[in-house]
Amino acid sequence: MQQLDKSQQFLADYESFSEAIFRHCFFRVSDREKARDLMQDTFVKAWQQVTAGADIKNMRAFLYRVANNLIIDEYRKKKTYSLDQMQEAGFELASQDHLKIEKIVEGREALEMLEQLDDKYKEVIIMRYIDDLSPQEIAEVVGESENLVSVRIHRGLVRLRELVNKV
């Protein structure tokens, strides 16, 4: 019975966080299909931890940590996708059912901007401003101190501002 509760709770977590985890993965790997696979893998891995009896206090932060590790593995495997390639492949930022064309173009701008950031800045900026995680939660996800994370967010923001001004 306990297992059943766990399953229900986990599926409720899926409903609440899948969208955000997908978005996070998307901005990190710049590939819709890969992001979807990564999101799925994140929940599969998290569920394995749940059934193994792991004590998860903050599911949201935990999911981000799993996703973050998977993304790092993905980077190690290969990193060859550029925005041009995606455009060449007829890439779209979101399903057209949900967004108007103009918004797709604007989302692409955001992606282009973020793509130019160093990965260590990109990861914290995405978590802080797109995923709305607190610096403390981010620190938990990346395994660094809260202080260092705050510094990184600040520097990332400065760099992002430079990029915006350039445009």
Binding site: R23, F27, T51, T80, E88, A94, D97, L99, Y129, V164
Partner: protein
């Protein structure tokens, strides 16, 4: 934060997962979770000793089918992994284990990769059966059909990617298929002395190679921008043949960007690099396959004798 930055962030937040994708992943997840739950239950049953009244009670409540599926899902499916056509557990391996895994694969790419892996497993079975002199019994009507099915499915994904204009992804998958097929073709030339399976496989190798040539032709005129030097580095790091290293080093990709489009040269370099990549992968795969066969030769010789006596 400034307004421009805020705008960018807000726009980024509008990126969405489609409703179909969300539902599809959820469905995959539920399937996966059910499997996991059953395996945990099974472990719990084993862990507790049988005399405990509470356990007996809960055990009695589980319908027989569920108990059966618990054992099927855990021990049996694991044991089935090493089975060959003709073994009792072989259907579990191909119809349950592999089908389940294929459900988990999502994008056309990962689906295609998984089908290639399955084809590879079938080819390994062909080799092991050839080693046991049992290939003739199991090739027709069983292995042949399965192998063809897996290759067909992988090729379908290649075609789909090609249709979508994702030429490079299509070519990469086709390349992998070519590598796998040609390596096993090479091994079977020695093993399959009666030429039971080789004809069919050779035919497939030819088809896949033809497909590659067609894709290369298209790639030659495609618009691609990429980090070729990075790919070169990755390849050189792998342990590869001196010949392949030479090919890779000879590949000189012109730097291209939006202002300086030396596209044709770049594409030629890219195609050449893929050629080197195939050579590398073939070498690695051949080595692995030979090692595996060697271990089977040692392991299977005594049992082979027993088998022929008992049957």
């Amino acid at each position: 934060m400034d307004k421009e930055l805020k705008d960018i962030i807000n726009k980024a937040k509008e990126v969405r997962l489609s409703a179909e994708d969300k539902a599809q992943v959820r469905e995959n997840l539920v399937t996966f979770m059910n499997k996991e739950v059953e395996s945990v239950r099974n472990e719990e049953l084993v862990r507790h000793s049988n005399w405990h009244p509470k356990i007996w009670f809960s055990f009695a409540r589980i319908p027989a089918m569920a108990v059966l599926s618990v054992f099927l899902v855990t021990g049996v499916s694991f044991a089935a992994e090493g089975s060959l056509p003709g073994d009792t557990l072989y259907p579990v391996k191909v119809n349950f284990n592999e089908e389940f895994q294929s459900l988990i694969a999502f994008s056309p790419e990962s689906k295609a990769k998984f089908e290639i892996k399955r084809a590879e497993r079938r080819l390994e079975e062909v080799e092991r059966l050839a080693l046991h002199n049992k290939l003739e019994t199991h090739w027709k009507g069983n292995l042949e059909v399965r192998l063809e099915k897996q290759i067909e499915r992988a090729s379908k994904h290649v075609a789909m990617l090609e249709e979508k204009g994702e030429l490079r992804k299509a070519a990469l998958i086709n390349d992998r298929l070519e590598v796998v097929l040609s390596v096993h073709d090479q091994i079977l030339t020695d093993l399959d002395t009666k030429k039971i399976a080789t004809k069919k496989i050779k035919e497939r190798v030819r088809k896949v190679a033809a497909r590659r040539k067609a894709l290369e032709k298209k790639l030659l005129t495609a618009k691609m921008i990429d980090k070729l030097p990075e790919e070169k580095k990755i390849l050189i790091k792998k342990k590869i043949t001196p010949k392949a290293i030479k090919v890779i080093k000879d590949v000189k990709a012109p730097k291209i960007n939006k202002q300086n489009l030396k596209q044709l040269e770049y594409n030629k370099a890219y195609i050449k690099l893929q050629q080197a990549k195939r050579a590398t992968e073939k070498r690695i795969l051949l080595k692995k396959a030979n090692q595996r066969l060697k271990s089977f030769r040692i392991k299977t010789k005594p049992t082979k004798l027993k088998d022929s006596v008992s049957r």
